[in-house]
Subunit: 166 residues, 2 copies
Amino acid sequence: MNADAKKIALRMIPYGIYVLTADDGKTVAAATVNWVTQTSFAPPLVAVAIKADSHAYAVVKNAGTFALNMLGKDGKGAAFTFFKPAEAADGRIGGQPYTKGATGAPLLTAAPAAVECRVKQIVAEGDHHTVIAEVVEAHLPKPPTGRPDAAILEMKDLGDNVFYGG
Amino acid sequence: MNADAKKIALRMIPYGIYVLTADDGKTVAAATVNWVTQTSFAPPLVAVAIKADSHAYAVVKNAGTFALNMLGKDGKGAAFTFFKPAEAADGRIGGQPYTKGATGAPLLTAAPAAVECRVKQIVAEGDHHTVIAEVVEAHLPKPPTGRPDAAILEMKDLGDNVFYGG
């Protein structure tokens, strides 16, 4: 396989930027992720690939639930904050205030939207494992004014040479 | 769950547009898809959710291989062509010329890039099933000049009210 062609072809896939959050009762985790897609309408399912050796993955597995917090165009700071492990204390994680959702998953106050998900299956293949989960709750504190997919922070908004994929 | 919040939050996920192709030796299938994400670097894996009652899904299952043909900004016609079932004859499908890739999967001549994939696992949950597959070959006949993720045809390029998700 031509490694360069593989890298560039895979980098053509456009990505939004999300903060994945989970709370297993012992620890709160928050991590920036981008490998996300819907996978079913009925029931509403999403797939998210999470680094298999990460703290966030361990907490999601334990909790069985998580939230995907959609970041807005002003969410670049939050995106970079949660590239590294973040500590939770006093209703904040990585400095960001949050509340608890219906599933117990943290909802970032700054996020314009979030979906809460219940894990259905995990595909343990590769360096990230793919979590297939049902959307069981949704929050839209700041509804987008135009197309919803024009309102989310995107990988290409993070910098000319920022990629996660390839 | 607030159905409207769920719809809009899920529609915040940005999508590229791909023509999924497969050839099981009996039939050639081509279908426009958008529920795609990378899921691992090593090995390189992707997830694609395919309508479970579709012809394309049956052919992918039989073949065990498929290609994701990335469409360019000029690929709107192809995107709409493969929203409906397409017939293959004389080296064309839906009017689009194609060649056979290393895995046997059809490669659309008009696509600026394509990855050929081998199915690893299928998650049979929901109205679309999620195929986890390894990228085993890549083609880049028309390398993008800027960011690769700025060169792909996106859902939002198809029309103000065109969505597949929510």
